[in-house]
């Protein structure tokens, strides 16, 4: 480092950026530069069109060399955007990068003011404050913390699966934790995918098997993350492994136990088939389940509930001894460096819109129920039938159920238009029913999707534009008897229509998971007002969160289709791998530290730290701050009764001189 970094004379260089007309349109930049030039300690004061450009940064470096500058202040945009840029420029000029201070005259000034004279005065006062502050800056060093190379993926839907495989293929160890007994998520329930009508199982199951067999992936199904501690590169995660009462290593999925269960007939709603058929207390979630291992439902199994069952399943399992009623809930602790959250979505509960009669009229079904009906491995072996077994002669699809609706959810769920058109085509394929789709707008923006809409029109599917008012069994005409009548204002034709159909399909939208708030707190993420996990930047950091080392992928971030989920999963995997392969995490030096001679050992600060970075040194009877854990929030600094906690870059003299700078500006 340059000798001028020392405590001698302070030589400040000041630069105000025009940002095109973003700043210069409202603030008189040359006037600010002229004002600052006269302040004590300022050696160079300039205005420039784009400070963040290469010539702008070069200007700083040249001035540092030519004028022996040892402090630099740039007045431009938000530090979030370019603090790093300018710190790097200062470092390239030979100065410690923390001799730099940034003034935000764009977001805090030109963008929020219209009066040129007052905005210019404000820019001057902010610059004045920074000039006074920067004099007290000290040389600081960033610290490097090694990064743990393992990755945790939470959620075993298509996004989680893809993220796990991508990271594992790069040679990193992955823990994939899934709450349900099998991975596969929503996609496993689909028959075909739009717009290509690919068989969903045919493209998903190979990926599911790959997870199971991958040497770098540890798959924990029927498990949940319950505790997360640490920081980027060094997370300690506690995973709760729920007892499935079946040893995963020993079970081969022969399902002899299912036949032997004391429940002769399946009696309980099958979650995978959304309750359309029944299962036993011991079951395999679905034929392609991964792992291919049975599971025992603790709520239904007589042995688990009462301990008084004949345990015929044990006999059927015979020498294999896979069934184990002594299993207990287990807590496993793992260390990982990065976490990818892919916890997905839940479907809107159609009962919340009572006028559509879901739960009241048996032949009003949701889109996922029809999806199971149309699947050849589903409860009706691919037959689309009404509840009484008849084939429908007419089917109506109601779109935007729980989407684009001020009364329920305001957002567009993005996939239901295409999903409904896919189901409509499959209905046409499987039956000779007339199909009518009731829509607000058809949103088919994806690749090949508009073409798919065209094809739907050509195949004779009727489209009626208007939000359906109600579904009723009140027949007004003989042809309506025994049917469900859809009442809708056809907004293209301009009148109210009554359309009788046999079956109604509600295209239910996507919602954040019921426990999204708990998951958010667990991983220290943010949620938007709707409850979707918030990305760091909607454009430039779509899979990052505000917590370093925690990434989001798939529908937990917002509704999206399979290709978008896969794209995000790949992006999240790449972001995680970029951190891992760098090998270390560079930590900002804006951490708090204890002035030991002043610390009285009162321990007030210890419970206040949100990051558990403060410990108590019993030998010295002093508090100690672990800089690697400290996030620089300043809580302890403010709370310390003896003022013996200080924080780099936020020292008392820096803050006070900055405040004085604003107040004494003239």
């Amino acid at each position: 480092m340059n000798a001028s970094n020392g405590n001698g004379e302070v030589r400040i260089g000041f630069y105000i950026c025009h940002c095109g007309t973003n700043i210069a349109g409202v603030v008189d930049c040359p006037a600010v530069a002229q004002y600052v030039a006269k302040l004590p300690g300022v050696v160079v004061s300039r205005d420039y069109k784009y400070m963040c450009s290469d010539p702008g940064q070069e200007l700083i470096q040249q001035d540092i060399r030519a004028h022996q500058l040892n402090r630099v202040v740039v007045a431009s945009c938000s530090p979030l955007l370019h603090e790093h840029t300018f710190r790097n420029a200062v470092a390239a000029g030979g100065l410690n990068p923390f001799y730099f201070q940034m003034v935000n005259v764009r977001e805090h000034d030109s963008w929020v003011h219209t009066d040129r004279a007052e905005a210019t005065a404000k820019a001057k006062s902010l610059a004045h404050a920074a000039i006074r502050r920067v004099r007290f800056h000290r040389a600081l060093e960033t610290t490097r913390v090694p990064i743990h190379p393992d990755v945790l993926v939470v959620g075993g839907g298509i996004a989680g699966i893809h993220a796990a495989i991508t990271v594992a293929n790069a040679g990193k160890k992955v823990f994939l934790v899934e709450r349900e007994p099998s991975i596969g998520g929503h996609m496993a329930k689909f028959d075909k995918t739009f717009p290509t009508l690919d068989c969903a199982a045919c493209i998903l199951t190979p990926k599911m098997s790959a997870v199971r067999s991958h040497e770098n992936i540890t798959l924990w199904t029927y498990s949940e993350v319950v505790k997360v501690e640490g920081y980027v590169g060094n997370y300690t995660v506690t995973v709760k492994r729920k007892p499935r009462y079946v040893n995963e290593e020993l079970c081969v999925g022969c399902q002899e136990c299912l036949k032997a269960c004391v429940f002769k007939e399946p009696k309980f709603p099958d979650e995978f088939n959304v309750g359309l058929n029944k299962r036993k207390p011991i079951y395999i979630p679905f034929p392609q389940a991964v792992p291919q291992v049975v599971v025992i439902d603790p709520e239904r199994c007589i042995q688990v509930k009462t301990g008084k069952c004949k345990q015929t399943c044990l006999e059927a399992c015979a020498d294999r001894h896979a069934i184990d009623f002594s299993q207990k809930e287990e807590l496993v602790e793992i260390k990982v460096g990065n976490i990818i959250i892919a916890t997905g979505f839940k479907l809107f509960d159609a009962k919340r819109i009572p006028q559509y009669g879901y739960g009241l009229y048996p032949n009003v079904v949701t889109s996922i129920e029809l999806e199971r009906l149309v699947t050849s491995s589903g409860p009706t072996a691919g037959e689309i039938v009404l509840r009484d077994g008849r084939k429908p002669k007419s089917v109506g699809f109601i779109l935007c159920v729980g989407s684009r609706d001020m009364k329920t959810n305001r957002w567009c769920s993005r996939t239901c238009c295409m999903h409904s058109m896919k189901l409509a085509q499959l209905v046409r394929e499987h039956t000779d029913a007339d199909v009518t789709v009731f829509y607000l707008d058809i949103r088919a923006p994806g690749k090949g999707c508009e073409e798919f809409y065209d094809r739907s029109l050509k195949e004779g599917i009727q489209f009626v534009r208007g939000r359906v008012a109600e579904v009723t069994d009140w027949a007004l005409a003989p042809e309506e008897e025994g049917k469900l009548v859809i009442r809708v204002e056809d907004t293209l034709a301009g009148f109210v229509r009554r359309i009788p159909v046999d079956m109604i399909v509600l295209a239910v939208g996507m919602e954040p998971q019921a426990d999204a708030q708990d998951v958010r707190r667990l991983f220290n993420m943010s949620c938007g007002s709707e409850g979707w996990f918030l990305e760091k930047h909607p454009k430039l950091a779509p899979v990052s969160t505000f917590t370093d080392g925690v990434f989001i992928a798939g529908c937990c971030q917002g509704p999206k289709d399979i290709p978008d989920s896969i794209a995000q999963a790949g992006a999240a995997a790449a972001e995680a791998m970029a951190l891992i392969d760098k090998g270390y995490i560079e930590q900002e030096p804006n951490t708090a530290y204890i002035v030991e001679e002043d610390c009285s050992g009162c321990k007030s600060c210890i419970p206040l730290c949100p990051f558990t970075a403060i410990t108590f040194d019993e030998a010295k009877q002093k508090a100690h701050i672990n800089a690697a854990l400290c996030k620089g929030c300043g809580t302890c600094v403010a709370a310390c009764p003896s003022g013996s906690i200080k924080q780099n870059l936020f020292e008392d003299e820096e803050i006070f001189s900055e405040i004085e700078g604003v107040l004494t500006y003239a």
Partner: protein, 119 residues
């Protein structure tokens, strides 16, 4: 109201017309239109096997109760009582019919199949 009356012991008939208009003030100003709306509700309630219609609004109650003569003359015999849901609550709580004003209707309510609980 469905849920309230159900927990009070009534068997609530599924009635999709529960939010359809009773005719409002049209029964007085444009009787052809208003009475037709009233008639649709009465006919459908009878068709679905209801013993009594429960109402919240005084105008609904009046329209559905008071125009039976005119409706019967126009469209044939349709007869069903309409009372306030609060009157049915009173019955469930064991109050006497007289105190509940049940005898003041144009179309009296059928006697209950079982004795209401006494306080």
């Amino acid at each position: 109201m469905d849920r309230l009356l159900a927990v009070l012991g009534a068997e609530v008939v599924h009635f999709p017309l529960k939010t359809k208009c009773c005719g409002g003030s049209l029964t007085g100003t444009v009787p052809e239109a208003g009475l037709r709306l009233t008639y649709i509700l009465l006919k459908e309630a009878v068709r679905r096997g209801a013993d009594v219609i429960a109402a919240i609004c005084p105008l609904c109650q009046f329209n559905l109760d008071a125009y039976h003569d005119q409706i019967n003359r126009r469209w044939g015999r349709t007869r069903i009582a309409t009372v306030y849901f609060t009157q049915l609550m009173g019955l469930a709580f064991g109050l006497p019919a007289e105190q509940l004003g049940l005898k003041r209707n144009f179309v009296p309510m059928k006697p209950l199949p079982i004795e209401p609980a006494t306080l």
